[in-house]
Amino acid sequence: MARTLAMFTDTSLCIGCRACQVACKQWNELGMEVPEWTGTYQNHAHFTDKTFRLVRFVEEPKPTGDLAWLLMSDVCKHCAEAGCLEACPTGAIYRTQFGTVNINQDVCNGCRYCVASCPFGVVAFNETTGTAKKCTFCDDRIQNGLGPACAKACPTDSIQFGFRDDLVTKAQKRVVTLKGMGFKEAQLYGADSQGFLGGLNAFFLLLSKPSVYGLPESPKLPQRNVVVDSLLSIGSALVVGLGALLAFRERGKGPGDA
C-alpha cells in the first residue's frame, strides 16, 4: 500500500472565503441547492448529497462579551475505522490504495445504512441517483497526481494535502506555535492514529473544543456493540423458547408422541 494520503485543515488560517466549497462543487459537478437560513453566514447548514465541503461559521462568545469567529472548512473525515464502510452490505464502499474511503456509485443500491452509521453525518442519500454520496477525496484527481480541488483552491493553505505522516508532524508544530501565541485551546482533531476511529485521514486543527464546531468529542465506531446486542438477543430467544415450551409441553408424553 502506498503511503496514506491526508488532508490537514488548519482552521486558524481559514478566512471563510469558501473557495474550497465552490471548487468542490465545480470539480465534482454538484448541482445547485436551495439555500436555507442558518442564522449565520454559513450555508448550507449540513453536508448534503451535493455539498461535500462545507465552511462552518461559528460565533463563540469571548470573555469580553464580543463574539469571535471560528471558521472551519469541514469535510468527510475518511476515517481509518469508518462506520460507513463497516455498514455497507454491498461492498460499494471501499478503501482506496491511498487510505481514503469511497462509494462505488455503480454498486451502491441505496439501502442507506451508511447514512445512519456515519458518526459525523457526512454520508447523504441522493434521491435522483438512488445512491449514497459523499466526498471522494477527489479520487479522479489524486489518481492523476493532483491534489483535491478544495486543497488546490484554498488561498491561505488552511487546507493542506500530502502524506499523512508529514502533515501530522507539521500540524503538531503548528499547535505549539499557536499555543505560544496565546491560543490556549488550540488542538488537533483526529490526527492521532491511536485515538478515536484509528485516526482521521482528513484531520483538523481547532481553536476551541470540538463540540463548539458541532463535532463529537470522542466519536465511536457504531458497530462496536453488534456482538453484545446479538448475544442479548440470543438470550431473549432462549427465554421466549422456554416459555413456549412450557405452554405447549404435554405432561408425561415424549416429544415424539402425537
Partner: protein, 274 residues
Amino acid sequence: MLKSPEWEMMIVWYFFLGGIAGGAYFTAAIADNFGSARDRAVARVGYLLSLPLTAACGILLIADLGLPFRFLNMLGKFSFWNPMSIGAWGIGVFGLFTFVSSLLSFSSSPERVALRRKIGLVGSIFGFFLASYTGVLLGGTAQPFWGEARLMGALFLASGASTGMAAISLILFLTGGAAGEGFGKVKKADRYSMILELVILAVFLALLGSAARPLTTGPMAPLFWGGLIGLGLVIPLVLDFVGRRARALTAVSAVLVLIGGFLLRYVVLMSVQA
C-alpha cells in the same frame, strides 16, 4: 449533526411483519415438536402465516432501496457481523424454510411429519434471527438513542414472538379453531412473551436513562406510554387474565398485541427520524 437514513413506513411495516413471521414460525415449530395432536392447527397456521409475511418482508425491503433492481448486490458479499448484510441472507434462507415447512404442513405421512418437525426446529433459529436482527441493526448505527440501546434486538425478539403468537391465535379464533386446546396454549405462550417483553422494556429504559428521551418524552410519548405499554401490553395481559374463559376477550387482546407490536417499531424508528 447526524443524518437520519429516512427509513420510514415501509421499514416500519417490514420490522413489524418480520417479527410476526419469525414469531409465528417458531411457535409453529414448538407446537409441532412438543405439542399434542390437538395442537396441529397451531403448527399449520404458524407455518402458513410465516410464508406470505416473509415474502412481503422481502418485497418491502427491496422496494425501500434507492435502486431496487440492484437488490442482488446485497448478496455480493457476506459480512458476518454486519446486520444489513447477514439480514439480507437471513431473509432469503428463512424464506426457504417457511416455503418447505408450509408445503410439508399439508402432509400427514409419518416420515414427512418427522422431517417437518426437524426442519421447523432449524428454521426457528432463522425465525428468531429475522425477528431480532432488525433491533441489532439499529443498535449498530451512530444515531442517538438507537446506537445506545443495547437491548433493542432482545426487545424486538420478545415482541416478534408475542405478535406472532397473537396473529396465530387471532386466525384460530376467526376460522373457528378457537375451540381447540391449541388456542389456549398459544395464548399462554403469548402471555409469557408479553411478560418478558415488559421486563426487557423496563431494563431497556433503565439502561438508556436520559438517552431514551426521544421515546419517553416529546411527540412520541403518548404512543409509547399509552399505545405500546398501555394498549399493547398491559391491557392485553389484563384482558387475558379476566377473560380466560371468554375467548372473544382474548381475541380482542390479540388484536391489541398486534397494534402494540406495530407501535413499538413505529415509535422506535420515527422518534429519531421525525
